[in-house]
Symmetry: C2
Subunit: 334 residues, 2 copies
């Protein structure tokens, strides 16, 4: 029996599970409406490190180590580490990865990286290539600002459609077992580029990619939005969230009240974080924090995460290119 | 039966094959000793494009399209495109990927990206998640120089241990069929960081990673170097090639005459390309060009490709960090 479903979805009959996970966020995220959903709120975003890049890397290592500790799992018993982040050459992930003596697979999907990693990890488990797989990602406001925009020391003013990069990290250990939410489907997105060029408004650029992957998921699985207690997109932000609703409304989809967006929700209005959160860590901590808590507390039985990524670089923006975007979806069931 | 073998290797009993492939290189590579191994030698490295980044992207698209054309395969019949490159946020791959309406999985392993992609593609096929999978990568001397070193306009002098980024692209279509070389094993590497910091000599930094993955492959599969007609590393360059031999000699390995290195061989001495070629395209075109030609002409029945990557970034070098390296190996059999 094929594990492929339709044009973009793969299915997992062997029930790979999220055996353990860990989320940590910076102080700003720790003052937001989802503070209680995260495993750890860091007292500051420097952690005694000389550079924010070192801090980002350390956060990823902390998330990985605490994920392992929760199950008393030795890293040597993990078959693969899949990790990626926003930094050039994904150095937060590769430097964190260099501390573990296990095969490392670098992945890149911008802010969709986490879902790509979970989907691939589930495939490696279902295909009997692995006993346990670690997935991790991180982002940091300061490292992203200075790479994508301006160093924070310049204090350049943000505009309303800007998103604020989440400082934090998330890691998950996937494998087989008696307990833990199951990954039932992964829908991998095709890249969608609608010609939008405004790097100050990536939510609008990403919304069509979210719509494309969501629709492919529903067609491939025969499910509707109502089959999910929550469809968590991320990180569209307020702008992109609105756009996605418009796109789906126009095509007559019902069940739009199931839609939530990680980026739009991680900060409160009074935190003045523009259109909301972004960064590779955002959907990771919102899924492993907020999402899994909803499943644990039985407020939800089945959630769909549709993680979005804007696949631009500072150079492509300077060269006047449009913004290709992608979204990867994973279905998680209690 | 598990598809996992030892600590780092996965095996493929369903015999995913390289159904078709295409290699194209720039004019310099087209004057090297392997010119006849490549499918196409470009007349120039600009291809009428406004920027070298656009040229790199176009090369990747050309490699993908000509790979598909060789089998009369429609891109819609391909389940996944796996691609990655050296540019920040792998934009050559994502922009090329945005022209195809199929799921895109971004991967990053620096110059080892190609082997990581082939290994993952074979896993997706073996696990019954895909009918056919495309893998592609590209690099360009000018884009890499200005990102990692200096714009070529500055004409900064190179030193003997510098490697020269290959201008070119390679793509391969994997699937099941009656013909085509088979992927039998993939050994994914752990990241190795020996503390070396000289970004002008990445070959020496990468040699221990090549040694680590090669040894893991031999232990996991029970094979020896003599079981392969050729072990093609890449891109260690002359410096790293020497280092790898020393490391293996010291541990008493025999069969070292089977070792060849893609980076060391792609240019001739009189081409003054420092320690040899590098770049994500180098091992891709050397494997799909030189390697497959050796299999086709029955000069080899079984080759092992050990692709190496230096996982640094210009920022980590400026911040005084050492160079984490990785190597991924794939066994290809006639």
């Amino acid at each position: 029996m094929s594990n492929r479903l339709g044009s973009q979805t793969i299915s997992f009959s062997r029930q790979p599970r999220l055996l353990s996970s860990y989320t940590l966020v910076g102080p700003l995220e720790g003052k937001g409406p989802h503070a209680l959903d995260f495993d750890e709120i860091l007292p500051d975003d420097v952690l005694g490190q000389k550079t924010p890049e070192k801090a980002e890397r350390l956060m990823l290592e902390m998330a990985i180590e605490k994920t392992l500790r929760q199950r008393n799992t030795k890293v040597e018993d993990v078959s693969f580490l899949l990790a990626g982040d926003l930094l050039n050459q994904i150095t937060s992930s590769t430097f964190a990865g260099s501390t573990y003596p296990i095969p490392f697979l670098g992945i890149y999907g911008a802010c969709s990286t986490f879902a790509q990693g979970i989907g691939l990890a589930a495939a490696l488990l279902q295909g009997d290539f692995a006993q346990q797989v670690l997935v991790g990602t991180a982002s940091h406001y300061q490292t992203a600002e200075r790479q994508y925009r301006y160093p924070i020391e310049l204090n350049v003013q943000h505009i309303a459609s800007n998103q604020h990069t989440v400082t934090g990290a998330g890691a998950a250990l996937l494998g087989f077992g008696e307990e833990g939410p199951q990954i039932s489907f992964a829908t991998f997105g095709a890249i969608v580029d609608m010609g939008l060029k405004d790097a100050q408004d990536m939510g609008s650029a990403m919304a069509p990619a979210a719509s494309s992957t969501l629709k492919a998921h529903l067609v491939d699985t025969g499910r509707t939005l109502e089959d999910y207690d929550m469809v968590l997109t991320g990180d569209l932000g307020k702008q992109g969230r609105k756009m996605l609703r418009l796109l789906l409304e126009k095509e007559g989809f019902s069940g739009l009240e199931r839609l939530q967006d990680g980026g739009s929700q991680i900060y409160s209005e009074r935190q003045k974080a523009g259109a909301g959160g972004s960064g590779a860590a955002c959907i990771a901590v919102m899924t492993l924090g907020y999402g899994l808590n909803r499943l644990k507390s039985a407020k939800a039985k089945r959630i769909l995460v549709v993680a979005t990524g804007a696949l631009l670089s500072p150079l492509t923006v300077l060269q006047g290119e449009s913004i290709p975007c992608v979204a990867h979806a994973i279905a998680i069931e209690a």
